[in-house]
């Protein structure tokens, strides 16, 4: 604090003397907030709506857009302003619950760093322009009169679904291009490839509530895996009596790991070997029926006896026997692979090895069931991955693109440095960003179109997981800025440039959506008395029920080929760029609530850190708060050490989300580092997906010490009984905890 030492008590005193005014002035509050008479304005309505009472909230249904899980929300609106989001109780994804990222949506909506005017690059710099000018430029470069040919055009987006996906596809077809790169850093692409090959279905439904044991290899289903709020409600049922047993196997403790009965720190990348070790124990020790597996798979599993598995994974044999014992005695079970297990060079093989366990245990058809088919395939989600980012960079490098449209993705920030994406993008002559914030990608575009926040805009969404309802997104209030436009409206404008005969009749996206939803063959809860009853019901509930067609799920056991563990002399440690429910992949770093919310494990706020095992810290001679340099073959990042036992001694975890450029947000600038930048070019051999956790690093002391800002400050209670605790032994005896000794 600019050299002046001030402790908390003094700070409160100062607050007391100078009153709230000073504190508020420091937080960019409008100076008109005062109790003084005659300073603030109170604005009356001209004509009141009968049901609007100032001071009393009205709730409208919509769909959360903070990640792609697609939770239903209710927005509380008072005096024309949306104030708070709650979960929509009728939404079958989140059953009325909402995570902190969802809650943070209001701060994305009211964010002071939103782009409000179109920007156009002139003389190298982005300057404000009129909509006519910006759209004129787009027409000139990608309109029918331009010389642009189909494949020279591309869309780069985050996950899209619903009618936006339909229109986006229509636009690509109208352009004659097949280039749609759908990029999400946090994804389940490898797992879905395995599902597709072994179950015949990309995304089956998991019955956590039916399972009596869950063994998760790196799938942080309570935090960052696919649909965490949905899984949390399922997990609660799983934990009801008789209490299910949760085993989490991962190199760095996640929120799910912290909830597990048994948390196993596995050597990163050896999760598949551990799965095969469990399979071996089940077949040999527990005499599980091996006939469900082809001979080659049986032979392959036979090679993974306890000694081999112990040696490769670093997990002791008694733990493996214990977990296998639970899996054998408690049926049905559910074995999951995700995150750290899949993000490896042999991620596909690992996820396949995990699926073999489900096949041996007979879980397929019991706790892994078919999701059925969405009747409107064209509205289904186009789920993103990192392979799309790699493919995009390759396409750009080949000089294949003349015009690129970006929406809901920030590849310049998320791309590892080895892709050299920033440089490569310079070779694309015309880049358009449909952006809400001045993020790294938008700042490198030639035209930036300011779009509505998701809470001012229209849309429909189908979730990749549990898409049993179409989520309706409707504005919760009038746009804050009259100069922003809806994404769907702009998409229609783009389409009208090329296909006026088909889309010219729609005044705007609202009109398109109303017609499209009214035409859906949906069974109404109430008999239709009004001609637009279906539309009214969609707006009222925020949900459109979908009858997914039934589908049989079948299991096909595939042999897997897993490598032995190899040490790397030069880069002895594994980098875990850990995602968290909060800043996510960095998109929410501009939301102060989420910066302020402590990390679920380390409790650090507003910063990056490097999680390290105490034994490793001792070996390197560092203490908590020491800055270390983490170097891969692609570069280095620096972070303060946080010492914690919930990490494998050979791993170092740096959270995703920080290290943004200063234009993005006043709340994110000069804050932490982005570990994605130093990732090595390691790809999953089978799917081509970037191996997010496949980077090896070396760690060196940077020679500095800084204070690690975290909640609590101390890991122990120094004998003061601030929080009631029981020992693990007592817990096991009295509260049904599992004996994991």
């Amino acid at each position: 604090m600019s050299g002046i030492e001030i402790n908390r008590r003094d700070f409160l005193k100062v607050m007391g003397w100078s009153g709230a005014g000073v504190a508020l002035a420091a937080c960019d509050m409008p100076s008109t907030v005062t109790l003084e008479e005659g300073k603030e304005e109170v604005t009356a309505y001209i004509l009141p709506e009968e049901y609007v009472i100032p001071g009393i909230g009205v709730y409208y249904a919509s769909t959360c857009q903070q990640c792609s899980a697609g939770c239903g929300i209710h927005g509380r609106v008072r005096e024309g302003r949306v104030l708070k989001f709650e979960g929509n109780p009728d939404a079958k994804i989140n059953y009325g619950k909402l995570c902190q990222m969802g809650q943070g949506g209001v701060q994305a909506h009211y964010n002071p760093d939103r782009i409000t005017k179109p920007l156009v690059r002139k003389g190298g710099a982005l300057v404000e322009a009129s909509w006519d000018e910006a759209l004129g430029l787009i027409k000139q470069h990608v309109g029918p009169e331009s010389a642009l040919s189909g494949d020279k055009f591309a869309w780069v987006t985050g996950t899209v679904s619903g009618h936006q996906a339909v229109l986006l596809q229509a636009h690509l077809e109208a352009m004659g291009s097949g280039n749609h790169f759908v990029h999400e850093v946090i994804n389940n692409a490898v797992g879905q490839a395995v599902n597709s090959d072994m179950l015949g279905e990309t995304q089956p439904t998991y019955r956590f509530d039916e399972a009596r044991v869950i063994v998760s290899f790196g799938a942080d289903f309570l935090g960052t895996w696919m649909s965490p709020v949905h899984f949390a409600t399922q997990y609660a049922k799983f934990r009801e009596a008789p209490r299910g047993i949760l085993v989490q196997i991962e190199p760095k403790m996640t929120l799910t790991g912290a909830n597990a009965d048994l948390w196993l720190a596995v050597r990163p990348g050896t999760e598949g070997v551990l799965a095969l070790g469990l399979a071996n124990t089940l077949l040999v020790k527990h005499k599980r029926d091996a006939s469900v597996l082809p001979a080659e798979v049986q032979e392959m599993i036979a090679r993974y006896d306890l000694d081999t598995v112990q040696r490769i994974t670093g997990v002791t044999g008694d733990r493996i026997v214990k977990v296998a014992g639970w899996l054998d005695s408690q049926s049905p079970s559910l074995v999951l692979a995700g995150g750290t297990a899949e993000g490896q060079e042999h991620g596909y093989e690992t996820a396949a090895a995990v699926m073999l366990l489900n096949i041996i245990l007979g879980n397929v058809g019991r706790t892994i069931v078919s999701s059925g088919d969405l009747p409107y395939a064209q509205m289904g989600p186009k789920s993103g991955n990192n392979q799309a980012l790699l493919n995009f960079a390759e396409t750009v490098e080949k000089g294949g693109l003349e015009a690129v449209f970006f929406y809901n993705t920030n590849p310049v920030y998320t791309a590892p440095s080895f892709l050299k994406l920033t440089d490569k993008l310079n070779s694309v002559p015309f880049k358009v960003a449909f952006a809400q914030f001045p993020d790294e990608t938008a700042m490198r575009a030639d035209v930036v179109l300011p779009i509505h926040s998701p809470y001012e805009d229209w849309g429909t969404h189908v979730a990749a997981y549990n898409g049993t309802q179409i989520g309706v997104q409707q504005p919760l209030m009038e746009p804050l800025n009259p100069t922003t436009h809806g994404f769907g409206d702009l998409l229609l404008e783009m389409l009208k440039l090329r296909k006026a005969e088909t889309y010219g009749g729609f005044a705007d996206y609202y009109a398109y959506l109303k017609q499209a939803i009214s035409a859906l063959p949906v069974e109404l809860a109430q008999p239709a008395r009004l001609h637009d009853a279906q539309w009214q019901q969609a707006l009222q509930t925020g949900l459109i029920p979908v009858q997914r067609s039934a589908r049989a799920i079948s299991a096909k056991a595939l042999a897997v080929n897993l490598p032995d563990y190899t040490q790397n002399g030069q880069y002895p440690y594994h980098l875990v760029p850990s995602p968290r429910l909060g800043l996510w992949d960095g998109r929410h770093a501009n939301i102060p609530w989420l910066q302020e919310a402590p990390d679920q494990i380390s409790k650090v706020v507003w910063d990056s850190w490097a999680e390290m095992h105490p034994a490793t810290a001792q070996k390197l001679g560092v203490t908590q708060g020491d800055v270390v340099t983490i170097t891969s073959d692609q570069g280095a990042v620096e972070a303060k050490v946080y010492i914690y036992k919930g990490i494998h001694p050979d791993a170092i975890a740096v959270p995703l989300g920080q290290g943004h450029e200063k234009e993005f947000s006043r709340y994110a600038k000069d804050r932490g580092v982005n570990p994605l930048k130093v990732l090595s070019p390691v790809r999953d051999a089978k799917t081509g997906e970037l191996a997010l956790y496949g980077t090896r690093v070396q760690i060196a002391k940077a020679g500095r010490h800084e204070k690690l800002v975290k909640m609590g400050g101390s890991e122990i209670q120094v004998g003061r009984k601030l929080v009631a605790t029981v020992t693990a032994d007592v817990f096991r005896r009295t509260e049904g905890g599992q004996d994991v000794a």
Partner: protein, 226 residues
């Protein structure tokens, strides 16, 4: 690509420029429905006439079943866009406070009357007076007069008009609703003797707490600081 009119299917309340926050007028909202309601002035006038005929005169006195709060404050004179005469309305014409501040009984805020309510009478009454001419100008521009706030409590204080009116008026069988202004005066002073409102009570925590003690109101911190 202008926003269409009434695209909320009649569900949203913010289509009109005037439908803005009572608290903050920081942003301009884009256009919307601005026609209709021509009958509104006449309806309001009828209600007003009915009300006048039913008013009974009550002697000024203390409010039964209540101990008025103590304390005074020397407030500033606040210049308003129109020097609204509370005295003409509430004293001479004996209009009930809640006729204009209609949300007081239903919500935490009492509400500034919508401009349409003013025009309900003043499209025919006193149309030649300078203040009414100014009001009419605002109405024709479809802009509410930029009234200045006089009475306020900090954001960390939850005050609700609704609960106070319930306690002292609607749940108080000995106080007819016609005498509500005497209850309003607890915190706002004798507004019926003022033109524009003028802060004459301190509205600080001691003022609130002493009144809560005397009237057996809740003493729980979280009741107000929530």
């Amino acid at each position: 690509m202008e926003l269409g009119e009434n695209r909320f299917g009649g569900k949203m309340s913010v289509n009109d420029r005037g439908f803005m926050s009572l608290m903050n007028r920081t942003e301009e909202l884009s256009g919307g429905r601005k026609t209709g309601w021509l009958w509104a002035p006449f309806l309001s006038l009828m209600v007003f006439a009915l009300m006048l005929s039913s008013v009974e005169a009550y002697a000024e006195g203390t409010v039964p079943n209540a101990v008025p709060p103590k304390g005074t404050y020397e407030g500033k004179n606040v210049e308003q866009p129109i020097e609204f005469p509370h005295d003409i309305h509430a004293k001479i014409n004996e209009i009930n406070c809640m006729y204009c501040h209609t949300y007081a009984r239903r919500s935490k805020v009492a509400g500034i009357p919508p401009t349409s309510k003013c025009m309900g009478c003043h499209s025919v009454i006193a149309t030649d007076k300078p203040r009414i001419k100014k009001l009419t100008e605002y109405w024709e521009k479809r802009e509410p007069p930029p009234w200045k706030k006089v009475h306020d409590v900090p954001d960390y204080v939850h005050f609700t008009h609704e609960k106070h009116l319930k306690r002292f008026v609607f749940d108080n069988p000995e106080l007819p609703v016609e005498r509500v202004s005497e209850v309003c005066a607890f915190c706002h002073g004798e507004v019926k003797n003022m033109t524009v409102a003028h802060k004459v009570k301190p509205l600080n925590m001691g003022f609130c707490v002493r009144c809560h003690e005397a009237n057996k109101g809740p003493s729980d911190c979280w009741k107000c600081h929530k």
